[in-house]
Symmetry: C2
Subunit: 150 residues, 2 copies
DNA sequence: CCGAATTCGATTGTGCGCAACTCGATCGTG
DNA sequence: CACGATCGAGTTGCGCACAATCGAATTCGG
């Protein structure tokens, strides 16, 4: 019905708009570090876990090599990471922080607090929002919608 | 601190991942209609409100002309919309549905129900999630973070 | 072992998002 | 009315996302 199509903009569009708005919030902070938001996510994984294969980055960030390969190439050009093939499995590439990549961490520590303050939500609301979003992502990830089914 | 950087992936990453997961959920349904998700949003506005200027589409969808102009050109090539300058203000371009664009609406009516069913959330949870997302978007939209401020 | 299937990463091509810019139309002020 | 400022679209350039494909390395089944 027409009503369904009007209502449709409610949750899904809200999610789409919120995600872009938050990315915009990060932009000036990350510009100062010379990073984009996806690049920042990669750096977060490397800061937290150390050397990580491309496959593992893809698993943690839910991104594929078509996104990660050129992104990592740009981080390498920026002298923040290096890549090397694993001796144990020459198919795998492990991403390592450079000294510059490691030292960038200290300049990034103020980012999360600024962002969460700007959201205008309490930490309780943020936690509740996160829980719903994770549930949504998990439920949606296991669905394969068929356009011909009801 | 290091802890902050780990926590940072919590809400913001959840939002980023959920948004992409939901877009993936739409993809097979919209592929059957020959639309991308942003194109579908434009069609929703046109189905609901009729002829709309590019500026008004941008206001409703929070997209700028750099995104909308090429998107509308593709919808025009697909024969779903036409564009014409307003006589009253030659700067403005009004977007109109073609007959094919109007008739696509009936094939889109099943999309919202399929998507909301696949989210695995109750309608109450979806409403609560939407409310938080809208608040987040509004709070974030009025913030301009300065990398040099605390 | 050995050939087929799988895995990993990179590449290609398309379509956003968004900043920065251009250009013509319009508006505001003197 | 003149003219500088502003406005609305469009264009350009860059960096994702993601589907599809490729090639090399590895694993698996017979």
């Amino acid at each position: 019905m027409a009503d369904d199509l009007e209502l449709d903009r409610q949750v899904c569009f809200a999610l789409y708009a919120a995600s872009r708005a938050v990315t915009q919030l990060y932009r000036p902070l990350l510009d100062a570090l010379g990073l984009t938001y996806p690049q920042y996510l990669v750096m977060l994984v490397l800061w937290e876990h150390g050397p990580t294969t491309v496959k593992e980055l893809g698993r943690r960030l839910e991104l594929d090599s078509g996104t990660l390969s050129p992104l990592l190439k740009r981080l390498e050009t920026a002298n923040l990471v290096t890549r090397r093939r694993l001796a144990a499995d020459e198919r795998s590439v492990e991403v390592h922080l450079t000294d510059a990549g490691r030292s960038l961490r200290s300049r990034a520590t103020t980012v999360p607090r600024k962002v969460s303050a700007a959201t205008g939500l309490t930490s309780h609301e943020l936690r509740s929002l996160r829980r719903d979003l994770v549930r949504l992502t998990e439920a949606v990830g296991s669905s394969r919608l068929d356009p011909d089914q009801p």
